[in-house]
Every structure is written in structure tokens, then in C-alpha cells.
Symmetry: D2
Subunit: 356 residues, 4 copies
């Protein structure tokens, strides 16, 4: 049963009959339960918002309550075990914790390679860098575009790390797929449904950030758009919500982590950098997220943040990132997780290939 | 002067010098003001978020305060008088109040024409109808697409009303331009910057809804994306924000109306339908918005809302819309505005052209 | 029926029996309805949060849904017609609109009398003034206390206006009752239940402001505390909620007005001054509230606001208040309300009694 | 310097002079800094909200910016080192982490003693239990009052644990002081200033919960009320804020922990129970808070939560609390903290004294 139509205490018999008739007409199976004071009509079948909205307006109806969730493929009911998948040899999801790190925007080969090397040494397993930056102002730096993608691919190849970058326009999906391993959907585009369908069709892993005012169910519905295209490699990311609390840039909602994990089988990451907005707070938020059970974090690191072209104040310095990685590993172990180590010692990394 | 860098009480002379040097390096003109306890460095010139973020991180800096606003073309400082423009003979902005009405989604010729006729008779001046519907669920009705656009154009032509419809994908901009008079950017796409650039390039009037968690400045920055393409015909729309208050679908922020009007010259509309989420509340919110000075409203009207394919519960019935239009006219007059009357009596409307 | 216990699809027969047994034990009357996939247990009787919480935890229970509202005396179901009552000859509630005006804090006899006279002339029917001011900082002006109350009573007597003032401490209730006609409970004390019980016992009219993060139901429950003491003269006041939108002090939630009026018979006022935080926005918000159906407004007016000891920036100047009162009268008429006129011309006011 | 008055670009010389004169009149020391486009007037001295509000309204003034914080005694500038104090031998603050545990409400001797024993065995160092319960509904269980306090004291004495309980009315402060070791101010009373003054005067440690919509500065100002009475033993507690995210009862704002610690020297605890609203989420939130650096947590534990008279769904079972305590100890160590162990093995606890 998917819907419960609660009739008003004052509803008439004919009104109940009309509801039952409409439930039938809508292709659901009704069943009636008459109580002492109220009648309830259950409706079994394909529930949609549209059906709920139509039933709510019938005479004599007090409320229409929803029981089953609107998402299917994203739901634990559909797929009970944690989703675990592989990106270029890196296992994601389940008990695996992966740390994605790198600069906010790709600005130059130098910064990208030096930061990339540093975060890999510290243990990060995936390299991030933005080539298409959605910026509030049309007058801000908008990213290097295709040139940035080329640099990112080069760095990923040299460092032997899978890469992730944001895509903001359905027309850019092919070029981003050509160069990056994971496609990031930013918070501003969480409900850009045509973009979700396009990335869904590519079969590449998709990393979806929660919108700053999105409910958990809305996030799972956005995942559903990707999953509905036959692409099951989806990662969700809590990155802070907008609340009255303006001491930080966004309020990191750590409770989203266990709530999502209860409802869905998809891996959940956190983004402490955008939530904090300044680097001093990043370690506390990162550790909080890992302690709450997150299966990864995406952290902005910059070697010279006071010259960064984007979001410098929230970038962690490489040295501090080393300490943070160590703490993350220890906290993850306490909650039964294990951090994937991207350490060069394990991957025969040849430092001589780096640009001087 | 655009920025004020407040040094810490404990900052050193060398630190002040370093800030001044960096301000120069960034192409701004510094000037220093030494107080008893603190030094302040002002910086005159092109302020960007990036510059602010870089200065914040220098040693000895306590805070970087912003004085001028980040938007330019959208600002009242740039354009003091209200923007007033014309769409197919309908004047928008300034003291003109326009009511946009019609069904949420275009479902059929019958509903569109009968609702269109009813709202025009009642005094609405612009016809709305959705052909591309952004839906939370991939399994919900997504709109009729091009077929819907054709119906909308036909109805607009027959009724002699300008039309408005939503565009959600940069790739759809040409086809929507072919059929509609005003392009609507929905709340979910307020920060879909590539889409904003595309609609900006068309030269068609653009109607931008505020995102459910967007600040006024972010809304004005989105307008700036359109204006920066040389398109000055922009309408802003407050449609409710997401707060803890879940008694309604969204909290209509009526204070946004005078705040926007103080900062910007652009016309401000309200959307009482999406804020309310149910029709009984729509008249109260519509009148509140007009009383607060809104230069228009967009109202969903449906002749048979309990069979609507989208958002039926919030659609006003045609009869109730007649009364609401009358009240809107009276309230607008009290605050010095005048409602543009789309009444057929003034436009020699021939009802015989309607489909039976 | 007050509760619906929805069992999980996988629940066992014995679990249903246990729920039924517990419903009986809790003094409610259960009835069972077995669907194809789920069983539902309805429970008729005195619902409490406690009972709901206990049932939620039983094995096999998926969700406990609440149907009836938690408040009784405040509910329209209990008292269908609008509550209308009288304070010193002023009718409050129903179709009557009353404007309460005066300075934020009582600072001196001069300001109080000159502002009082001005607002009365303009048409305000009730005089406000704070003697006990709840201030965020212990170092701010905290009000004149009893001396302020004496001034307020004197002004009310001379001007022949009922008076309202805030009470913040159960121990102050007797002295405030001695001098004021209406007791105000501020937003910070909306859930100070012992204070609500004390003011409930006095039988004086009570004006309860909604807390900045209170739901409508929580506000009605606070009213219930007063009503439960046999005091039915309660006014509710929407004064703005705290949201992410920081362009104004608080977001005035105009939708609260029709929502409360649907659920409750009690009169609803608005406070545009505290919501706006600055005087330029006060008229827009005041008119929005009256247009949305509010039965009154409480407006801060000051003759010399840049020397006010509290909240000067949001105080309207007497001249502007005259215009606002005129607009309020006109807007109220459009929504079928009538403003009670406190104008001296009707009350044989003798201006010679004022302090020079 | 405490304030910066930024004059408008168009301000006149006379307007600047008027601002300077008023700054002098208000007892602050002005100094002027004339820039190319704007003049700035700094004001050194005792800043108050009142002064800021008055200056904002002067002609030619664009904005008044605040530099120093409004709190003094609660500030790290006033007291650089962490506050550490002692309650009956238990060290609180600094690197010490203390877990407060026990039932939400004191219901009976049996439950209180059995839960108390269990939490002490598991390592909790302070015993909680509510005797005066602020309840949304006047018809809910309101606590046992004095009888509850007596039971709490008895349990604390037998178990050799300091006790904490909530006080909601200034008139109850003496009796609560007689029986309890730490006075709790609940979220609803965070801005009940007279209550804060009363508990401040007692000299007993005060535990202040953040209001559900309070900013960090407002929380620190409430602490300032207590500190201003000469009482320096104050603990602050983040317990979740009200946001749009309704998947949990309140959104635990973990970023509040490092933000408060940066601004203030007072210890910061978290309350995962009220934030979560259901027990399955409590461990994740508790560990997140400890990982973010909290110096303690207050956790509701109940041996038979489905019969609890208050908030049963969020009470952790004693067995799960044992595991949680172990994880808390390990996570605390990673961030350089040490959990105070209330284990009976260390305190020569005699279990035979318990009621059978």
C-alpha cells in the first residue's frame, strides 16, 4: 500500500465512494476501513505526487498520507546491501573510506601537480580540480575549461589517481567524460534534471552534491534520475545546508549521513571545505563526518591559498592535510571503516616525472 | 572605495606594509588610516570575491569588509529609475502591475484555452503554461515539450496575450524562443549560469525566480548574468523560501519586495501559488505581495484542478480568480500602482474562435 | 480516532497483537485494519506525545501518524466562531482591526506622551511601551521597570487608550497587572510555560508573540497554556521568523496569518517593526499583513528615533505613521475588515492635559 | 576602536561633523579618516547596540560596522586559556571530556537508580534527570518536581556522581540548588534573562543549552548574563538547531563547537539525543561531536524507553551506551582529549546500597 486517504470525521458516504472510484480510475487498488469516527481508504499501487495531489482535493478528504518512498532504485528496499564499486582500481562504498583532495579550481600545472603529489603522499586516493566553475558573479574567474581538463587528466595519469571534476552544462558532458574519471554534479545543479540524465547516460561514476536547501528525499530523487539511466555508480555528498547560522559558510548536516545510509545503499561522502568556508574549521568538520560514518570526504588543499583564484580561505595547507589524513584513518577505524591509502609507497610512484 | 581591510589590534607594521603591497599588486588603490588601536587599509577599485578572499588570509588581517555591492548593471546605483519595458504592448515595471495567470502545465488544448479565456476576462494580462516541467521525480509527468509550446503560442495569439513559459536546458532555448514571449528561469535553475547566459543572448524578456535558499544578492547576481549579455528586460520573482515553517510549501518572503526595489531598478513579481501550495492560501499571499509593492504576480489557475497533472492543489478556480483580480486592483491602487487590464472588453476579443 | 499506527510490511502477527494490547493498556480504543501488504492499527482516545512516542518504539511498527491536533481550547474545532472580546471598550478580533502603537521602550514622560498623542490622533487604538526589556546584552538598557509602568498607565488614562506592555518574569506579573491592560509575552518567552500559566491566571488579556523558530502548532500550544487557566482573551502575533535571509532582521511569515485563522479562533496580529528592523520597510510589511487578513498590528513609533534607547532604527516617525494608518484602513476594508479608530475626535480628547 | 561609521559617498561635510559630535556626546572618542570617495569615522570606547543603532540613523551615514564583540567575560580576549573547573571532584573543560547520562525525566526511583548504575559502570561521570520538564503541551507529564529532585540527590549520593537537572523558573532556583550540583538552562530558556541572573547569583555551575534558533553570539551573551554575576563555572551546549531539514528532530550544528572554542574559553558540550530524536542516530551524532572537539556530551539513556514518560524514542539502551562510551573514549584520544572515567571500579562503588 502506498497511500492512505484519511476522510474527515464529517465526510459523507458518497464522498467515500467517490474517493474509491477515483482510486480505481487512477489504476490503484483501493481498500476501505471504516472506523468509529473516520473512514480510511488505502490505495495500493504506483504512487505519484500527481495522484496524491489529485486525491487531496476530493470532497470529504482530510489528508493523504504517503507511506512508501518516492524513490525506488536508490532505496535500500530495492537494493539491501551497500553499493560498492570500482574506479580505476579504487574501491568506493561499503566499509571503504576514500579521501578526494586537490585544489578548488585548476589554475596552473604547477599548483595542480604539487598539490596532487602532496595529497597522494598523505594518503588521498582521488584527485579533484575544477575546470568549469559555477560562480555567483559573471565577473569572477570561471575556470580554465578544456585546458583545465587536460591538465587534470595529465596529473591523474602521472600520479596514478582517478580524477573528479564538475560538469555544469549538458553540452559539456562529452568533453568532461573524455578527460575525467568521475563526474561531479554541484549543489547548484542538484536539480538540473537534464544534466542528471546526460551524466546518467555516460555510465561514468557520478558524484552528486546535496543542494543547499535540498531534503534527503530530494537528493535521493536526483540520484534516481541517474540510476534510471542504468548507471548505478552514484556517490552522494553532504556539503552543508543554508540555515540562519552564519558563523560558517554552510551548516554541515552530519545527521544526513546516517539518515541517507538508512534509506539508501549508495555511498555518502562529506565536503567539509565548502561547509566551513575557512580552513581552521575543516579538520573538525572532516573528522565529525568520518566519525558519523561517512564513506569519504572531498577536501580542498592548496599550496598557496592566499593567491588562489577561488575559495582560497577554505583550502587546507598540505602540511595540515598530512595530520588530518592520519586522524581520519584512526577515526574511520573506530567506526569499522578502512581508509583506502593512495600513498605512493604502495603504487610505485615515480616523482621524477613531475614538472620541476 | 570598495573594501576595508581591518588589521588586528596586534598587527605589526610589516604586516600592514604587506597588505598595502598586495592591494597595489591586485590593481586597487590603497589608502591607510592609522587609528589609536587599529590600522585600516582601504582599497579602491574593482572588487571581486577573489580579491577579498586573498586579502583575508594575509598575516595580521582581522577582517575584510565589503562596502559596494557585487552587482553593477542590476543596481540602482547604475540605473536609478525603475526599469519599464514593453512586451507585445503590455507595459511591465514601474507603477504597472501585471498579473500572469494560467495552468501550471500545458496538458491539453481544452484546458489551456478555457483557463486562458477565463483569466483574460478577469483581467490577467499575460498567459502562463509549462511545456518543460522540472519534476523532483523522474517518474512524474515532464510536460508536453514542443507540442505544449505550440499550444501556448496558439492560445496567446487567439487571446491576444503575451505568453511566458519555463526553459530548463540551454539546448531548448531556440525552440522556446520560437514560440514564447517571455522566458522563465525556474527557482531550481536560478544559478544555472550557462542557461542564464543563453537566455541573456536571445534578447527576449527573462523572468527569473528566486531560488528557494538564495539571498537577494545572489538573485541580483543571476540577473547580472542576463544583463551582462546586453539584455535589459529582466523581471525578478519572489516565490517563497525554504524555512523550518512547514505549514505551507514555502515561506513567502514579502520583505524581499521592498529590499529588491531599494537595491535594484528591475521589476519584482511574486508567485503566491508555489509558496502557498494550496489554493485557499493563494489570495492572502497574493494580496500581501501586492500590498508590499510587487509589480505583478504569477498565479496558477485551473478549471479542473483535481485532475491536473501537476500542482493541482495550489491552482485557483476561475471563479475565485475573478474576485482576487478585483481585490488586487484595489490594493494596488492604495500603494500607488495600477493594474494592466487584459480584459477582452478592451481588446476586441472574439470568443467564437475558441475550440468548443 | 487520534493516531494511526502503520505496521511494517514485514511485521509479524504477534507484533500487531502487542501493539493492540498496548493501545488498550494506554486507555485508547484500538481497531485493526488488515491490508494486502500492511496492517494498520487505529487508536481512538486521548492522544499525547508520550503515547505516540511509546507506540513508535514497539517492534514491527513503521510509523505512527497523528491525525487530530494537540491543542484543544485554541482550536476552531472546539470554538468555531472567531473570538471577539473587549478591552476597555475596544473590540478585538473577528472583523475588527486594531493598531497598537507607541515607543519600543518607555524612556521618559515626554516621549511617551508626545508619541502617544500622535498615534492616537492618527487612529491607533491601543498604546504600547516597554518597561521590562529583554535585552541580548546584560550591558544594554533594561527598561525603567515600575517607573515605566506608572508612566504608561498615566499616558493610557490621559489618552483614554488601553495599554499593553511586556512581562518577562512570573514574579513581575502582579505589578504589571496593576498598571497595564494587556500583558505581552515576548518571542523569547513564548515557551516560558510558568510565565504563561501566571498570566493565564490573572484573567487579563494576553498578547503572545510567536517565537522566532516556533511552529504554528507550538504557538497554539502556548496559547493553550493560557486558555487552560480559564483565560480566553488571547491574541497571537506573528513577528518574523529566523531564516537564512538576513536582509531584514526577521522574515515576516505572512502565511502564518491565514494558517492560524484556519486552525484557531483567536485573533492574529502582526509586528512589522521587529521583522523589518528598519523603518523604511515597516509600511510594506504592515500593509502586507493587513492584506493577508491580520486583525491588527503592533507598530513602534518614536518622535526622535535617533536618540531612542532601544530599537530606534525600526521606529516609524509620527508623520509617516499618519499615512500608514490611512493605507491600513483602506486595505483592511478590501479584505472585509474594519479598523477601530482611536481618533481623539471621537473620544473628546483634551489636549491641554499634556505635559508641555 | 569599536565602531566604524562609513559615510555615504554623497555625504556632506556638515553631516560628518554631526556624526563626530554625536560620537563625542555618546562618550566615545572619534577619529576621522577621509578617503578619496568616502569618509570614515572611527569610534573608540564602550560600544553598545544602542549606540550603533543611533549612529546608523544620522544623515549621510551609509553603514555602521562593528569590530569588537559584544561579550566580554565570555570572550577569549578576556580570558585566553580554557576555563577548567571542578564539580565534586570531576574536572570539566580544557582537555577533559565528560559524559553526562541518565533518563530524560525522573519517573521513579527504580528507573533512575538502574539507569544511573548502568551509565556509571559504562563510564559516565555525571548523572542527569529532569524534575521540572518544560513541555510543549500543558497536558503532558510535567515532571515530579521536588520529589524528583530528592530522588536525583539520593541517586547522586549513592552513586557518587555529581548531578545535573533543569531549572525553568526563577522561583525554583533555591530548591534546585538544594538538591542538584549543576543547574541546566534549557534551550527554551536560553534568553530568559532573569532566570540567568538568578542562577548566576547562586555560584553553582550552570549548563546553558543553545536555543534552537540562537546565534553563537547570542549564546555567548546569555553566558555573559551568568558570568556578570561573578559565576565563572559555565558550560555551553550545542543541542541542534531548527532548519528546513526535518529528517531529524533538530540539525546538530557541529561547526558550533570549534567556532565557540575560537571565540570563548568556556567548555562546549553536545546533546546528540535531542538533535537526533531517535536512538539509532544518537551514536553517530555523539561521535561526530566528540571528533569535532566537544568537551562532553549529554546523553539520554533509559532501561525501558518504550514506557518512558518523555522522549523515549531518543533514549539509548544501556547496552548500546556501553559500546558508545568505548568509542567516545577512542575518538576523544585522537583529538587530544581524555574522557573522565566515572567507572565504579575507580570509586569503590557499593552496589548493595541499591534498591532491589
Amino acid at each position: 500500500m502506498d497511500l492512505i486517504v484519511v476522510m474527515k470525521g464529517t465526510s459523507l458516504l458518497g464522498e467515500v465512494d467517490a474517493v474509491v472510484a477515483r482510486v480505481n480510475e487512477l489504476g490503484l487498488k483501493p481498500y476501505i476501513s471504516r472506523g468509529e469516527f473516520r473512514t480510511i481508504v488505502g490505495a495500493i499501487g504506483e504512487r505519484t505526487v500527481q495522484i496524491q495531489q489529485q486525491l487531496e482535493q476530493l470532497p470529504g478528504v482530510d489528508e493523504v498520507m504517503v507511506i512508501s518512498q518516492p524513490y525506488k532504485l536508490a532505496s535500500r528496499e530495492f537494493h539491501e546491501a551497500d553499493t560498492v564499486f570500482d574506479v580505476k582500481g579504487v574501491r568506493i562504498g561499503g566499509g571503504h573510506v576514500n579521501i578526494i583532495a586537490g585544489p578548488c579550481a585548476i589554475e596552473s600545472s604547477d599548483v595542480l601537480f604539487s598539490v596532487g603529489e602532496a595529497v597522494k603522499r598523505a594518503g588521498a586516493s582521488i584527485l579533484r580540480g575544477g575546470a568549469y566553475k559555477p560562480r555567483t558573479s559573471p565577473y569572477s574567474f570561471q575556470g580554465l575549461g578544456r585546458e583545465g581538463l587536460e591538465l587534470l587528466k595529465e596529473a591523474g595519469d602521472v600520479l596514478n589517481m582517478p580524477t573528479i571534476t564538475e560538469v555544469v552544462d549538458p553540452r559539456d558532458v562529452p568533453v568532461v567524460c573524455e578527460f575525467a574519471d568521475i563526474l561531479q554534479i554541484g549543489a547548484r545543479n542538484m536539480q538540473n534534471y537534464n544534466l542528471l540524465l546526460e551524466v546518467g547516460k555516460t555510465g561514468k561514476p557520478v558524484f552528486i552534491k546535496r543542494g543547499i536547501a535540498a531534503s534527503i528525499n530530494e537528493l535521493l530523487m536526483s540520484a534516481e534520475y541517474v540510476l534510471s539511466q542504468g548507471n548505478h555508480r552514484v556517490i552522494l555528498c553532504e556539503r552543508g545546508i543554508r540555515t540562519f547560522a552564519d558563523e560558517v559558510r554552510f551548516t554541515l548536516d552530519v545527521s544526513a549521513i546516517p539518515v541517507i545510509q538508512e534509506r539508501s545503499h549508495l555511498p555518502v561522502f562529506i565536503d567539509p571545505s565548502h561547509a566551513a568556508g575557512k580552513r581552521d574549521l575543516v579538520p573538525s568538520l572532516a573528522l565529525a563526518g568520518i566519525a558519523a560514518g561517512a564513506q569519504g570526504a572531498i577536501v580542498e588543499v592548496h599550496s598557496c591559498p592566499d593567491r588562489a583564484l577561488c575559495d582560497g580561505p577554505q583550502a587546507v595547507l598540505p602540511n595540515n592535510f598530512v595530520k588530518l589524513m592520519q586522524q581520519i584513518k584512526e577515526v574511520a577505524a573506530i567506526v569499522g571503516h578502512r581508509v583506502t591509502n593512495g600513498d605512493p609507497a604502495q603504487t610505485a610512484f615515480d616523482y621524477s616525472v613531475f614538472p620541476a
